[in-house]
Symmetry: C2
Subunit: 382 residues, 2 copies
């Protein structure tokens, strides 16, 4: 991936992960750039959420450097954990040459263990030395946890570009669970970049669920050098980049064998469509049915029926791929073979429900639910 | 199990299930008895919900007979399915000698296939002939689907008794998903038996979740011959019987190896405690951690933190069994071995969270989440 003008990045192993995999990433701008962030809504928050909120408030939203570690969430570590986060930010600030509050630090990984701060600080000089304009991929690799691969997305946007990086595979849900997402750009941001980010987020990361759980560390950051100035359709590029990253996370759901798009149409409004979509996309019965290649419209319709959105199930339409499996109040068993083929042969499957109430629609992304998911999550800490 | 005075029951295989297992059960009173029922809140409802609501309204809540089939849910079968349900009720009424609206019929099993009505009607004479005061166990067996065993519970209550029967193992959630529950008694019911049943239900079946999904056919029925007259503490016996049945369903969750009690205390009110408990009990990450014998307080606290109940996680207390694993804002890793022992060695495990906000508490029951669950639900229809 190519970073926008002004950004340099790097990633390397600092010994936080026992495996020796890369676990520390840094992104730096030569001049402070405007930024905005959205954080988890969980009451339990990682130390970085506290520190980043404070730093963004004190800097007026100006950021010089972003340090991200994987392998340790620095969460439920008390006041000492917050101090650890502040100390690593201060160490970056000294090396980069800026006030500490222009440095953001973020952590993802296991909850409840103290951050091995000394290893972070020891690795920082090498990390700063490794910074390069083409270091985005190294950064993207260093922030992964149970992900099976890097997640990046890029868009040209007039003279500017948007480069997106994300991590996350389990614990993904609206409110951005165990997910870190970054939108780097050189385009001029809106006067209220937080609102701009929230708009991009609403139809992307907020439409993503892997298992209904959420994490204390979820963060999405929009950050610009603004060197390319004002460009048209930046909002579209931000949303489209975010959607590509969100879909990449769903595709890489822990143990997943299928990316599942749940498309709800005929809803009274878009929020209602998204709500129904999320209930379907979170249902273990729907997700295990996809894993079993079973076009189980009954489970889809049952999930829709408990979402709290009024509709008449006897008028609803359920499709798997392009195939109608339920309409006019009854199943269409003759079509189930074609629907099962779609589930068996497509890496991206589509489950559609038309509620026949209104004209609004929404897509929600998830993945299927396999025995592998259970194995990963039963054994993760041991 | 011993049925209360006036009840006779039977169960036999009618050929609805391909396996030849019992799939048709009948319970009859010699005189109509007062009854009340609670039905699923899903918008998608099985035919029996429509028919039972109608019959209870027309009979003024008087019931002579209850016919239950397993193996077919008679759901999403349109007007024809409702007519099938009415026809089987009429056939029972003719054999028993009562108006059709004094007969309740209920179905559980696969959604979307027409009920094989002829097999039901053909089996009815043998079923009526098999009715016995000690036939409760046969009835209990005939209503099972993926359950691994019958679920019954009994209480003496003065001169009266309460005999409970339930089925359900997957798709269990508040609002009584894919669950049938029966409370048979000979005690005099309250003037409003539906409110009496709702009270017993609130702290029993409503506190049960296996996978967060709900079914279109869930029904709980309270039905009395009232031959034993007014007895003290009937409400306690109804609630206690319902709790035993709810726990039996959680213990028999699809693929479950552990019954999990989630106990939330220190909540501002009981509803808030139950809400936090349900979010913890529904979390796939918590449930897979129990399957992996991992005292993962981080997942428990994260789930509590997104339940929508305000509390300060740094003041919360998390215990596994009797062992504190999180307190004073940080984990207690020295205790984790004892906590892991509890998970490894107890068939019933206890996860407790004290929110340190108020004095209300609630228990919620669930089970762990194993690879076996996925296998069962990926392969159920195929």
């Amino acid at each position: 991936m190519r970073l926008p003008q002004g950004f340099r990045a790097a990633g390397l192993p600092a010994g936080i992960k026992r495996t020796g995999a890369p676990d520390l990433g840094l992104v730096v701008l030569d001049e402070p750039g405007r930024a905005a962030a959205l954080f988890t809504k969980n009451l339990l928050v990682g130390a970085h959420v506290t520190v980043c909120r404070d730093h963004l408030a004190r800097s007026g939203g100006l950021v010089r450097a972003l340090l991200v570690n994987s392998g340790n969430a620095n969460c439920a570590t008390g006041d000492a954990g917050v101090q650890d986060a502040r100390d690593t930010a201060a160490a970056v600030a000294e090396l980069v040459g800026c006030p500490p509050h222009e440095v953001l630090v973020m952590s993802t990984g296991v909850i409840g263990a103290r951050l091995p701060k000394d290893r972070v600080v020891t690795a920082l000089p090498s990390l700063v030395e490794a910074l390069r304009p083409d270091g985005g991929e190294d950064f993207a690799r260093a922030i992964l946890t149970t992900d099976t691969g890097v997640k990046t997305a890029e868009r040209e946007c007039g003279d500017a570009r948007v480069a997106g990086v994300a991590k996350g595979s389990g614990m993904i849900h609206p409110d951005m669970a165990t997910m870190l997402g970054y939108l780097f750009t050189d385009a001029r941001l809106a006067d209220d970049p937080r609102a701009q980010l929230a708009a991009a987020n609403a139809r992307s990361f907020q439409r993503l669920t892997v298992d209904g759980d959420t994490s204390p560390n979820d963060t999405v950051l929009l950050w610009s050098s603004e060197r390319a100035g004002l460009v048209p359709r930046l909002d579209d590029a931000l949303e489209s980049t975010s959607r590509e990253l969100a879909r990449a996370i769903a595709r890489d759901g822990e143990g997943a064998s299928r990316l599942v798009t749940v498309r709800v149409s005929g809803a009274p409004d878009e929020d209602a469509a998204a709500r129904v979509g999320r209930v379907i996309a979170t249902s273990p019965l729907v997700k295990t049915a996809v894993a079993g290649r079973d076009p189980n419209w009954g489970r889809i319709l049952s999930a829709a029926g408990r979402a709290g959105v009024a509709f008449d199930p006897t008028r609803a339409l359920v499709k798997v791929g392009a195939t109608v499996v339920f309409a006019d109040g009854r199943p269409h068993p003759a079509n189930e073979a074609a629907a099962a083929d779609h589930l068996a042969n497509e890496a991206e499957v589509l489950l559609s429900v038309d509620l026949a109430v209104g004209n609004a629609a929404a897509d929600v992304w998830t993945c299927d639910f396999t025995a592998e998911y259970v194995a990963i999550n039963a054994d993760y800490r041991t």
